[in-house]
Amino acid sequence: MAIEVKNISRTYHAQNTKNGKVAALGPISLTVREREFFAILGPSGCGKSTLLNVIAGLEVPDTGEVLVEGRVVDRPGPDRAVVFQEPGLMPWLTVRENVEYGLKLRGLSPEERRERALQYLKMVHLTKYADARPHQLSGGMRQRVSIARALALEPRVLLMDEPFSALDAQTRDLLHDELQRIWSETHVTIVFVTHNINEAVYLADRVLIMTAPPGQMRRIVRVPFARPRDKALPDLGIFAAMLHKEIKEEVAKVAARELDPDWTPASPQQTLDPAAGI
């Protein structure tokens, strides 16, 4: 088991609620297998990022613990790399220096760093821009660098929090295929948070569907399609539409809680259409 999440829950303080607290996540337990591509779907605010941050060691859960390859997570570590929605490249460093920075902190020699940075920039096809500044790159290129920076640490687990949701559809399509290739080349375990159901169905081995907040496990779905997958395949669309229906139920729960009482879910005919969400 690459990742074992045991009974995790997290509550935040908030001023605008009755008891000054907001239950953000869980309790939730799950396991992610070695070399698995594991996607997480759920309504907005259900605690997907919180879960990912707990696995990353960026946040401490109120209850429970996370094991990565048998070791308890208590802080960020070299076995786990994270790619966020924002690339978060450091503008005062060149592209290569950005990729090298984590390696420098690991104590690699300048030659080793350089070599490894170029190796991973090559993996995302950006060696040409090694000496450019981040601001000279497009959004998609920046996210590529961010992926290279994470991979250069040679982590056991790659955690991705909506990494492509700020990109245009064409760039996203390209990066989907790149990520699949990288995943099969590096044997890294990937946990991939997304709002995009098609993305999850296209990329993942299994998909976790979370409930309305505080996010618990609604269901884990195995994606039954062999790789390489074809985005145009109607089966993928039908499968996505099925997941869409489940998530819509959870979203409706959130909306019923948050919106005025006169709100009702839209007519179900639209969501049963297999072509929806393709």
Partner: protein, 264 residues
């Protein structure tokens, strides 16, 4: 891209040319008004008189001595307030106890013109160089502290997360990430602090009787009813202030912003 750059440069050149032309016209108009006898020459000298006064100051060596002394005071006082203000700012940004207690004090003191400290400073440290330094330090420290605090606070949270994930902690994080992420805004604060320090110094030099300095020159000019000298000192004050503001801080800031991609 190249084309746009050259257009930008052309545009900038045009602006500079216009500025120069405006100055020249201003000088000519000023000179003409004085030469045609519209004003009492003794109260409003012509630019030529001012130039002559400046040249006399330069010849006698007083000019360099004054500039040297004033800049020396600035460098001493400003360095101290840069260190103090930066440390105070970091403390205010990262420690809520400090923010709740010292924070309001800093805010209050910032609204007190630092020259108001001079009487106190004279009482405490006596009539000597240290009183001027105290005023300069007090003039810049609080604005640098406030700017530093904001610079640290405004560091995008993504860098904190990225830093942690890459393994930067404690001092390493502060040196490698926090410092650079806060740099553009901090530089703005440094620039502001310098201009506050400059104002404070000029005020202090005007009031204090016994040491040379550019502010002093202005006051000496008044004592001798030497209006050209007064104007020459004022031009000097403006010129020096602008030289540091643009020549040092402006260039630094622009350089940093260009590297970071904050401006073309």
């Amino acid at each position: 891209m190249e084309q746009r750059n050259s257009v930008d440069r052309e545009g900038r050149l045009r602006v500079v040319a216009l500025q120069l032309a405006f100055m020249v016209v201003l000088l000519i108009v000023w000179h003409a008004i004085v030469a045609m006898g519209f004003v009492t020459r003794y109260l409003v000298p012509s630019p030529v008189d001012v130039g002559k006064a400046a040249y006399d100051l330069f010849q006698s060596g007083v000019l360099w001595k004054s500039v040297g002394l004033s800049l020396y005071r600035m460098i001493c006082g400003y360095s101290v307030s840069l260190v103090l203000g930066t440390l105070l700012g970091i403390l205010l940004a990262r420690n809520w106890v400090a923010k709740a207690t010292l924070g309001s004090l800093v805010l209050a003191l910032q609204s007190l013109p630092s020259i108001c400290w001079l009487p106190f400073a004279l009482l405490w440290v006596g009539i000597d160089e240290r009183a001027i330094l105290a005023v300069v330090i007090l003039g810049a420290t609080f604005s640098i502290a406030t700017a530093t605090e904001n610079a640290v606070r405004n560091v995008p949270p993504i860098y904190l997360k990225v830093g942690q994930v890459l393994g930067a902690r404690g001092f390493t994080f502060a040196r490698d990430i926090l410092f650079f992420a806060a740099l553009p805004e901090w530089l703005g604060g440094m620039k502001l602090g310098w201009s506050f320090a400059w104002r404070s110094l000029m005020a202090a030099e005007l009031i204090r009787q016994d040491a040379l300095g550019i502010g002093r020159l202005l006051e000496i000019g008044r004592a001798f009813n030497d209006v050209p000298m007064m104007l020459a000192s004022m031009v000097l004050i403006v010129a020096l202030g602008m030289a540091v503001d643009w020549g040092i801080f402006g260039v630094l800031e622009r350089q940093v912003r260009r590297v970071y991609g904050l401006e073309k």
